[in-house]
């Protein structure tokens, strides 16, 4: 009898302890949530983008909305421009981000439209040991021909929301590559942001970012 009472008391005590410990555990990023975030995003993208009855314009609008909601574009843009960001005026920064967004939408729309969810698989999620709001999600995209692509996604969590910061394909990071390239361009033109924005705009107008799929 006494044994049972202590047991009865024990259960709520454990529960209370668990609740009390909860906030500490919640500080670290929930890797399961992160994986769900990416799975949902992929589903949402594939569902509309794979639909042949929707016009290209609608697809683009839909994808742009998804992109704005799920990618931390200002952070990516700032990372890519690096040291030259602070020297640029607010108007120049805004102009760059607008063109950069167009470029990213043009680049990733066809890729996402291509990959149905059966060929997209999410693997392990690794919390970033150096920053508890970030995680790396591994994924695999099967191709009809050849080895599957290994793609990792760097995501950041803020108040339960996840945003994508970087895409790493076969060890090559989009953010680092663009940062290195644009850094060289900026260095060679005296650190001025507007010429870079102009060059990007011209590329976007020519449709240069759309991957050339045969």
């Amino acid at each position: 009898m006494r044994h049972r009472i202590s047991r009865l008391l024990f259960a709520p005590a454990v529960l209370a302890l668990a609740i009390w410990l909860q906030p500490a555990a919640a500080d670290a990023l929930d890797t399961k949530q992160a994986a769900n975030f990416l799975a949902n995003l992929q589903e949402k993208a594939a569902e509309r983008l794979g639909d042949a009855s929707i016009s290209e314009k609608e697809k683009e609008d839909h994808f742009r909305k998804l992109f704005q909601e799920n990618f931390d574009l200002p952070a990516i843009g700032r990372f890519v421009i690096g040291r030259y960001w602070r020297g640029a005026s607010e108007a120049d920064q805004k102009a760059f981000l607008a063109v950069f967004e167009d470029a990213m939408v043009q680049r990733f729309l066809p890729l996402l439209a291509e990959h149905s969810s059966t060929r997209f698989q999410i693997g392990t999620v690794t919390a970033d040991s150096a920053n508890n709001s970030m995680a790396i999600i591994d994924s695999r995209i099967d191709r009809t021909e050849g080895e599957p692509y290994k793609v990792s996604w760097r995501v950041r969590e803020a108040n339960g929301d996840f945003k994508i910061l970087d895409i790493v394909a076969e060890g090559v990071s989009m953010a680092i590559t663009l940062r290195s390239e644009y850094g060289t361009v900026l260095k060679n033109n005296g650190g001025q942001l507007p010429p870079l924005t102009e060059a990007l705009r011209e590329k976007v107008q020519r449709g240069a970012f759309a991957p050339q799929i045969n």
């Binding site: 574009l73 602070r86 607010e90 920053n131 790396i136 090559v172 590559t177 850094g183 240069a208 050339q212």
Partner: protein, 311 residues
């Protein structure tokens, strides 16, 4: 830089063995390369930073030199970009940028006029199955070099895979034409001496664009030469065969990257800088055998939660 090379030639038995190995036919093949390497070592020694000269491979500092494109995707790089707190100007570690860009332009022209058309034609007229067999055969020929580097890296598991592959594919795979081993779970991997040096902590030295051969670095260019020595075919096969094999490997690689390279070039603002960054990241990935690289130590003062607005 020069000291690094002295170290490696000592590793292979010193000067006597080195010159003993450079016998008749080999020296004929290598003479042009040796000139280039002697020049790059010389230039490397001149370009070497005073503080970095005299560092041994494996020193943490040596590793960090030249890694401007690797280890920078870590969370501290993101924190840095948000706080606007940058150190001194990032070093491209490309002291030979002017000649490199010249060779790059030369290679691009060569690619446009000869290499790409040949690769496109090859891909168009030769069926996929045959092209895969050509690649299997070329890969099998490369096995001794991969095996030697697996062993030099102390990676016995991978050495065993390499050896098993060679055994299976050379026999029932009909001299390597069919990759039977991959179907039995022994997947192909590649190693070279540049990667071996990388696993022992050697930095890239500096970026280098080789004529015809393309992006490289002091470490990887030197590694290529060592690989020639490590390859038994250098000593037993006729020179024409080895040349043909090098050309075939190049065409095979190019024919598998036609769309990729076209896309990469189409949206680039500085193709040279883009390829330089890609080359470094891919090499880093190869050195780590696909595992994520150790990130640079974390700064403890990460600025508060970044806002994603424009201020």
């Amino acid at each position: 830089m020069a000291c690094l090379f002295v170290k490696f030639s000592a590793f292979f038995g010193g000067k006597d063995l080195f010159s003993g190995m450079v016998s008749s036919s080999v020296s004929r093949i290598l003479r042009p390369f040796l000139g280039v390497i002697a020049l790059t070592v010389f230039l490397g020694a001149c370009a070497a930073n005073p503080e970095t000269a005299g560092l041994q491979p494996g020193d943490p500092q040596t590793i960090q030199i030249a890694q401007s494109d690797s280890g920078q995707g870590g969370s501290d790089a993101w924190a840095e970009s948000e706080s606007g707190d940058f150190g001194p100007e990032a070093d491209d570690n490309d002291p030979l940028e002017v000649p490199n860009r010249m060779f790059f332009a030369f290679n691009e022209a060569l690619d446009f006029m000869i290499i790409r058309p040949v690769a496109v034609t090859y891909k168009f007229i030769v069926p996929t199955g045959v092209r895969n067999s050509v690649r299997n055969f070329l890969r099998n020929l490369r096995t001794p070099v991969t095996l030697a580097n697996d062993l030099l890296q102390g990676n016995l598991d991978r050495a065993e895979i390499t050896f098993t592959r060679f055994f299976i594919n050379s026999t029932i795979g009909l001299l390597g034409v069919f990759d039977i081993a991959a179907e039995s779970g022994f997947a192909y991997h590649d190693e070279d001496f540049g990667q071996t040096m990388g696993t022992y902590g050697a930095g890239e030295g500096f970026y280098l664009v080789l004529p015809i051969l393309g992006p490289s670095s002091l470490r990887d260019g030197g590694g290529r030469i060592v690989d020639i020595f490590l390859d038994p075919l250098t000593y037993i096969a006729p020179q024409e065969f080895n040349l043909g094999r090098t050309v075939a490997t190049g065409i095979d690689f190019r024919s598998r990257n036609i769309e990729e390279l076209d896309s990469l070039k189409a949206d680039s603002l500085d193709f040279y800088a883009r390829i330089r960054s890609l080359y470094r990241q891919l090499r880093e990935n190869e050195i780590n055998n696909g595992a994520p690289s150790d990130e640079v130590p974390n700064f403890s003062e990460i600025p508060g939660q970044a806002t994603s607005s424009l201020e």
